[in-house]
Symmetry: C2
Amino acid sequence: MVPGAVDRTITSITSTKIPTCQSGDTVAAILEQLVGNQWESADTIYVLKDRRLIGRIDITNLLQAADTTHASRLMERAKARMHPDADREHAVFLAVKEDRDEIPVVDGDGRLIGAVTSQAIIDTMHREHLESALLSAGIQKTGIKITDLASARVRFAVRSRAPWLLFGLVVGLFLSVISSQFEATLRETIALAFFPPVIAYIADSVGTQSEAIAVRAFAVMDIDYGPYLLRELFIGLIIGSMIGVLGGLGATFIAGSLQIGVVVGLSLFVSSAVATLLASLIPIGFILLDVDPALGSGPLATALQDIISIVIYFLFALTLL
Amino acid sequence: MVPGAVDRTITSITSTKIPTCQSGDTVAAILEQLVGNQWESADTIYVLKDRRLIGRIDITNLLQAADTTHASRLMERAKARMHPDADREHAVFLAVKEDRDEIPVVDGDGRLIGAVTSQAIIDTMHREHLESALLSAGIQKTGIKITDLASARVRFAVRSRAPWLLFGLVVGLFLSVISSQFEATLRETIALAFFPPVIAYIADSVGTQSEAIAVRAFAVMDIDYGPYLLRELFIGLIIGSMIGVLGGLGATFIAGSLQIGVVVGLSLFVSSAVATLLASLIPIGFILLDVDPALGSGPLATALQDIISIVIYFLFALTLL
């Protein structure tokens, strides 16, 4: 669990004062019951049978129907529904997927507990998006408002931002330690020192793209990980070969050495392919560990990609030069 | 304007069949008018005077009021409102800021044109967040669904992802050209070759944080750029000094040279401070140019930060060694 977590249960955002009716009720009876009561939301009337949710009627449909129409004629299936144990993000997911602005919450027996209203969905959606965006930028604060971060005391801003940067520094110095292990190789072929930044840069960029897609796709789709990873690897190989050929040509020209061009080109190719795969695997890992996958689209993934790409580079250099 | 832009006007998502009333109408009269009509949304009843919008009544408040109450007693000011020329993202902004799930659209004379309903707000919010996230990951496709990117033909995926990667490659090779200009310095002090990746990595991380905050803060707050930039620079100086001292100590240890430690530490310090400032300036620049600021939280900003940080590093090396 991410530190500083807020209450993410559906219950915390469920409205319970919502209108219900029985399938045999007429429109006139439902309207009569609607008036004079204090609802938290009246957008949807939920149709119950033995307290079990069997359907929903949009208030716009209710208002245009004839007085004598029965609820059973007007209702549609309440397909989108949630269990109270679900994460509140699930309400957002269902709202987007099923094109609804209110999602009912039912218990294990199908009995209506309440509903997450449009206002709660909009609010939750905004918070979740903000948290993911900040988290993947390496700013770890949950339940925060962007206005706080942009205007609060400097001390607060530094404390939100420093931890992942210090982690990044450790990773970065580790990159330097790796490079220092290849001092002899570097000394022999000084031009090798020109290219680590471009190798890390490209691996990071390719990975960032894969993560952005994976994190969001896994949130809304039922995905077979196997084929998804194969497809990503295939994309990585295609993109990697384009980047590898062009980058290799560029490096040949810059270093004035075909051998170095080949090392740079091969490294770009292999590390791009590895980055697509790794960047999709990390969010899967986090999902399996029940951690917010957005964490995997940030500094942690960048770190791994940078390290792997630099190692690949020096191994090619050692082997081919 | 970003290529491939979709219709972003409010009009494209405005519902016009929404209930209205006059301030003198009684609850009974409003309810009577509500029933039997086909509304696109009935969440809010808009109170008009000479077709001008003067207030709003939530349907939940209408339902619980006594029959003889007048609209003027029930209504609240419709503070959150939009002009039809506004960007549709503005509806999302107002919904979040004013805690509303429906936003009325009024013309220049204050006459009600329609309303953006909760469903349109949820849908727009989802699309805008997705587009920003993909754009800042260097995937340029507007009006796309994440499911398309995660499952569509490989060719489509490659075409969405390749342009910014090729841009990144050009930038990366430019980094190599810069390094190659310092070949003599590198040859003299080979340990200098160990640190460019960590310098670029930290500048990039600090910048990514600043961009994530700036892009979102500028979207929801009225910000005085001057004080905001000064505050960011101050944060950059604090963070930079922490990272600079620790990184400098690490580099001293790795390279076995205090001189190199000083070069690395100072470079980390200066490039962190510059990165916070630059990362806030780029979104401001894009806003002034009327381009989506999310574009500035991505590959373009990373590129600039990497280049500047590497130049800073080698200049310190040249000056101090």
